[in-house]
């Protein structure tokens, strides 16, 4: 039985419901939090409902099942625009959104990172800004998110057992004087919350078949539905948001599974479509009153697109590693995550274990490459260890999601174009990360080192950023649009800066905080 079978349903002309667009970390969490307060919510999810039983232990087949493959276009000097011009992002189109695919790393943004402008100073080419909230403002919600998600090494949840890839990272980290453990992961290290302990399948990216990894698919969404206040509508692709003459949003127009246009009236709308689709939707909702797109008086909708400084280091050894066995990302070094400009860049980065299966290793090792250097790496696949570098990239006004007037989707809507140029700071940080990663593995006797370029981005951030002043961003510290009081941004688009850490824990914490605020505003009759 599907979780939607016996759910409460709401009429399309019921103007009292909150409509949440997207069911991932932001949307799924927000919807459940609202439902728990007794607020009626309709969740519109573009993707289909796939359950854990549907997940595939096959990288390409799973990619075809889960990934957002609707056309997008790219421009700019980042390498992805050449290698994967229609795949700037590796995110999910399925109920649960990218929480189906994420690796589970759950790190808090550091206090100094919330005030990037203050702490880093003005940087040429960057559009830095302090968040309109501090670490202390968010800390209680981090506590609640960690509790809810069962993050390891918090709340008496023991650390996950390290796999072979971790053993190599740990040995190298120790040699370099780094500290290293199996990380803060939203993956059960023991049975918890009605979900199993991690069985070390190694298919974290393909959907966790045992449900050990937190995903809104089998936590927030069914919990919300159980309250009788949440209706989940999969395969509902939102086209635009409508508003009245006063500028308040009133309805959401979407295409259902059969391709029929539907209109759901709403008291309040929360957008959580990921940092590519969220600005696209606001821009596609332009009207006479909002000619530049909804909530875009500042002109910042779609700008400041961040995708994290990323890169991978793989190393081969004389002996087998079998890096693909076990939890993909349970191995973290945070020693380079601080802000230390003597390294030649501002901000910092994390080093996290990462493994790809043979098919994706071939696809992403060095896209476009051929010949013996390429095949030599795969010949040593069994003896390979790997890490991902993930660090702060700087917001730039010109890094931007715009509508591509020349390319439309199956509903005739302009698709998102993603423009990205690396900032010199991003490049300096990546080079430092490559060096340190290589050094770490060399200290353990690495034979060959492979510096692997960024993958299609799973961390998409900043395109509707929060700001103290309306002219600097799109929404306030609660994700409420500066221009439209009953329109909220509820995903990673809100991030004022990217910080170094994997964003999901912060997205969930912001959603919990936002839900509390929306509940208050509704009770006070302000929205």
């Amino acid at each position: 039985m599907a979780m939607t079978d016996n759910q409460k349903t709401f009429a399309h002309d019921d103007a009292s419901v909150v409509v949440v667009i997207g069911s991932g970390a932001g949307g799924g969490t927000l919807a459940n939090e609202l439902a728990q307060q007794g607020i009626d919510v309709v969740v519109l999810e573009a993707g289909a409902l796939h359950t854990t039983a549907d997940f595939l232990a096959d990288e390409w087949a799973s990619f075809a099942q889960l990934a957002w493959l609707d056309t997008r276009t790219t421009s700019g000097s980042f390498r992805l625009a050449r290698d994967f011009p229609n795949l700037p992002a590796w995110i999910v189109k399925s109920v649960g959104g990218t929480t189906v695919h994420w690796a589970g790393a759950s790190l808090r943004i550091q206090p100094h990172e919330f005030a990037a402008l203050t702490n880093y100073g003005e940087i040429e080419g960057a559009n830095l800004l302090d968040w309109p909230l501090t670490y202390d403002d968010l800390a209680p919600y981090y506590d609640r998110a960690e509790q809810r998600m069962g993050v390891t090494r918090t709340n008496d949840n023991k650390g996950l057992p390290g796999n072979n890839n971790f053993k190599v990272m740990y040995a190298g980290a120790k040699n370099l004087g780094y500290s290293c453990n199996t990380g803060h992961m939203a993956i059960n290290s023991a049975p918890r919350d009605g979900r199993a302990a991690c069985q070390q399948r190694g298919f974290c990216f393909q959907g966790c078949k045992t449900g050990a990894k937190w995903s809104t698919l089998y936590t927030e969404l069914p919990e919300g539905i159980a309250t009788g206040h949440l209706e989940l509508r999969p395969e509902s692709h939102v086209a635009r948001i409508e508003h009245d003459d006063s500028g308040k949003v009133t309805a959401v127009v979407y295409f259902d599974a059969e391709g029929n246009e539907q209109r759901q009236q709403a008291r309040l709308v929360a957008v959580a479509g990921n940092s590519l689709e969220t600005p696209r939707l606001l821009l596609n909702s332009a009207s006479t009153l909002f000619p530049e797109g909804l909530a875009n008086g500042s002109g910042q909708v779609g700008r400041n697109y961040m995708r994290h400084m990323t890169g991978s280091v793989y190393a081969t050894f004389d002996e087998p590693v079998h890096m693909y066995r076990g939890t993909t990302m349970a191995g973290i070094v945070s020693d380079e995550a601080g802000h230390d400009p003597t390294r030649g860049f501002v901000g910092g980065y994390e080093m996290e274990t990462l493994a790809l299966g043979l098919p994706f290793m071939a696809a992403f090792l060095d896209p476009g490459a051929w010949g013996p250097r390429f095949t030599g790496a795969l010949d040593q696949y069994e003896n390979m260890a790997g890490m991902w570098l993930v660090g702060e990239d700087l917001p730039q006004e010109s890094n931007r999601v715009t509508l591509n007037p020349d390319v439309t989707d199956r509903y005739g809507l302009p698709v998102a174009n993603v423009h990205y140029d690396d900032h010199p700071n991003d490049i300096a940080m990546r080079e430092h990360g490559y060096r340190q990663g290589a050094e770490l593995y060399r200290s353990v006797g690495a034979r060959d080192i492979y510096e692997v370029p960024p993958y299609p981005s799973t961390h998409n951030l900043g395109t509707c950023r929060m700001s103290e002043r309306p002219e600097d961003g799109v929404c306030n510290a609660y994700g409420q649009a500066h221009e439209i009081p009953n329109l909220f941004i509820s995903d990673g688009s809100q991030f004022t800066t990217s910080a170094a850490e994997n964003p999901t824990l912060t997205i969930v914490s912001l959603a919990i905080r936002q839900a509390e605020h929306i509940g208050q505003l509704m009770r006070q009759g302000e929205v």
């Binding site: 232990a57 390409w60 390290g162 040995a171 991690c198 079998h322 013996p372 095949t375 069994e382």
Partner: protein
Amino acid sequence: MSSPTISRRVFLKASGGVLAGTLAFASGPIALLAPSRSWAMPLDNLSSRQGEALLAVTRQIFPHAGLEDAVYAHVVKTLDRKAVEGALLTTLDEGIAELDRSAGGDWLALDDAARLEHLAPMAGTPFFEAIRGDAVVSLYDNPLAYAHFGYEGAEGDGGYLSKGFNDLTWLPDPPQPEGGYLPFEEPTA
């Protein structure tokens, strides 16, 4: 009057070829998976010689010394399937003809080094990219390749918790609590 079955056989013979070979490594991991040492693969759209040429081109693009032709044949198979589109068939046909022209007759008659010498200048052409782009997926996304390169694929579906996720012994085991705990292990620190 011929039966429909015979017509189909005649048709297949006329339009498609066969790619065949023998496993080179009788004791390799692939031999363990294969029902016999000889293998054959019918082609629907490519001729036998086109199949052989494409296999040889793929070997130059992604050279793995010990990898069986039977694995490279996966690439020919997917190209053959895709070649139902006339445009790709033409691209492949013209590319092979270009190699032959460049080789002064029969590119397949050349040795390895000479084959590469004539192929390398074609890197980036639609012919080369059609093969590379297909092969980077199809060559490495099949059970024979998994066995050869040491990837366990869907065998991991049940989890490696009791099947070697932490069986690496050439480095010391990390201490606890850094190295974490098994699901039913009590934290000691």
